[in-house]
């Protein structure tokens, strides 16, 4: 698809910013996301192409602003919903519960 992901040759993004001594993961959840992505792939929930397509279909603003692992969350969540393993409502509710717990 002619999605926002197809950035080759586009102008206007500015300089390539390089972080010196970049850590393997910036936050603990990034490692959880990486490993969850692999575990769901191994369980047969998606193949590489089914994994990539929901990222391409993200809201363009969200795509450009989000990190690599946030994009992965979007597609793993979408694929698990499409496979009938979880519902959006379940994820929303658990997420809200965890946020409430953190705020308390």
């Amino acid at each position: 698809m002619n999605g926002i992901h197809d950035v080759g040759g586009k102008h206007g993004f500015g300089p390539v910013l390089v972080e010196q001594n970049e850590p393997y993961f910036h936050e603990e959840w990034e490692g959880r996301m990486l490993s969850m992505m692999i575990a769901c792939f191994a369980a047969g929930i998606y193949n590489v192409d089914q994994f990539r397509h929901p990222i391409e279909k993200m809201d363009p603003r969200h795509y450009l602003m989000s990190s690599y692992y946030e994009k992965w969350l979007c597609t793993v969540e979408q694929n698990c919903i499409d496979a009938g393993i979880v519902t959006r409502e379940e994820v929303d509710a658990r997420h809200a519960q965890l946020m409430k717990g953190k705020a308390a």
Binding site: M1, I38, N47, E56
Partner: protein, 117 residues
């Protein structure tokens, strides 16, 4: 569903998903062939970057037979076909913005290419 256990982790990481298909399929192109990239604009998944659509390049290498992402992403089967590396002159892609010496190498499936006229 086959849940990934710790015992299976080393094998999964060592194997991944090769996407290579062990079937005999005749290649449509060979190294040295001039090809035109199709002007594909479907909303489905594909691996064709906009900057090569409609451009003419030269096949440099045939990597063998692979699953086709356009069908694989939509549970329409593997539609196995050859993947090639195609080289383009930077000037042909970017006009005056390209350096006359520079080359772009892009991998493409059979369905993305036609013999250049």
């Amino acid at each position: 569903m086959n849940m990934l256990t710790t015992a299976m982790v080393p094998t999964v990481l060592a194997t991944g998903d090769p996407a290579r298909v062990d079937v005999e399929i005749a290649p449509k192109f060979k190294a040295g062939d001039k090809v035109t990239v199709v002007n594909l604009n479907k909303v489905d998944h594909n691996r064709l970057p906009a900057y090569i659509k409609g451009k003419v390049g030269t096949v440099t290498f045939d990597h063998g037979v692979f699953v086709f992402p356009d069908t694989s992403a939509h549970r329409k089967g593997p539609k196995p076909q050859h993947v090639y590396t195609v080289v383009f002159n930077a000037r042909d892609l970017w006009g005056e913005a390209g350096h006359p010496r520079d080359r772009m190498y892009v991998d493409a499936w059979d369905d993305y290419l036609e013999h250049a006229r």
